[in-house]
């Protein structure tokens, strides 16, 4: 046995070396594959975290819009036109910010809702600027109230959508 080894040590060492190289190549290939998977997973985790951060902030703004929009009706009913005007302007300001800030990521249906809400708010503001709420007739006040409610409903629906996306119930 020893004589076989000493006679053929060069061949045996070449074979061993080749076997070790192949093993090393195999391990490198495995490592590369797992590294790529890990990188992909890390990227996906980072994207998910960024989405959560963005939807949480969009959620907060939509929550503000929903609240200030509902204040419009409240102030119309209690005949506080200046406060109703302030709420309408504030809601419009936040809606404009949302449209600009998240424009590339918003769904078409959300953009449409925002366009409707903004147009309704502009007309609410025009009506409130025309004169005191007390001077408005019954039907005119009803129109104002109904429009404010429509705006509130639009923001509440969008808030619901963002909440469902954030909780993973609905796709972004």
């Amino acid at each position: 046995m020893w004589s076989i080894l000493t006679r053929h040590w060069k061949v045996l060492s070449d074979v061993a070396g080749t076997l070790f190289s192949l093993a090393g190549l195999f391990v490198s290939a495995l490592a590369m594959k797992y590294a790529k998977s890990a990188k992909k997973l890390a990227k996906e985790a980072a994207d998910a975290a960024r989405r959560v951060a963005q939807t949480r902030t969009l959620h907060e703004y939509l929550s503000d819009c929903s609240r200030t929009a509902s204040d419009i009706s409240k102030y119309i009913d209690s005949e506080q036109p200046q406060m109703a005007l302030y709420s309408a302007r504030e809601t419009l300001r936040i809606a404009l910010f949302i449209s600009t800030r998240w424009e590339p990521e918003l769904r078409a249906s959300t953009k449409r809702s925002l366009a409707t809400a903004k147009a309704q708010l502009e007309i609410i503001i025009d009506v409130l600027l025309k004169g005191p709420v007390t001077d408005l007739g019954r039907t005119a006040k009803a129109s104002l109230r109904k429009s404010a409610q429509l705006v509130t409903n639009l923001f509440t629906e969008e808030l619901g959508l963002v909440t469902r996306i954030r909780e993973g119930v609905e796709d972004a």
Partner: protein, 116 residues
């Protein structure tokens, strides 16, 4: 005033409104109705063309405003060649009827009255 695109827009609004395919909605102003277009425009139809500078009273025939955000892009009124005052009045009446769901409300009331 000649504006072929604005006239085409007017005719499309007339046609789609007659077919009941435009989702007109009331607004805070009893004299204005609106509908969203795509995700960034709105169409407003109002019972007047302009407001008197001194009194703020609505004046003139109905008109349509094509708006993007706070900017009015086009106003369609009886000054537009090819759009008559009568057509604008008829369109406004039709829009008002649809936006306020008058037909459905009449049907609802008729149901009760006929059951008496």
């Amino acid at each position: 005033m000649r504006d072929d695109r604005a006239l085409r827009l007017f005719h499309e609004i007339q046609s789609k409104t007659s077919e009941g395919r435009m989702p007109w909605e009331p607004t805070a102003d009893e004299n204005i109705f609106m509908t969203p277009i795509k995700d960034k425009y709105v169409l407003l139809i109002r019972s007047y063309d302009f407001l008197d500078d001194r009194t703020g009273e609505p004046m003139g025939n109905p008109s349509i405003v094509f708006r993007e955000g706070p900017r009015d892009l086009v106003t369609i009124n009886s000054a537009l060649e090819g759009a008559t005052a009568m057509e604008l009045r008829e369109l406004y009446a039709n829009v008002k009827r649809q936006a306020l769901r008058i037909d459905a409300k009449i049907d609802d009331a008729l149901g009760d009255i006929e059951a008496l």
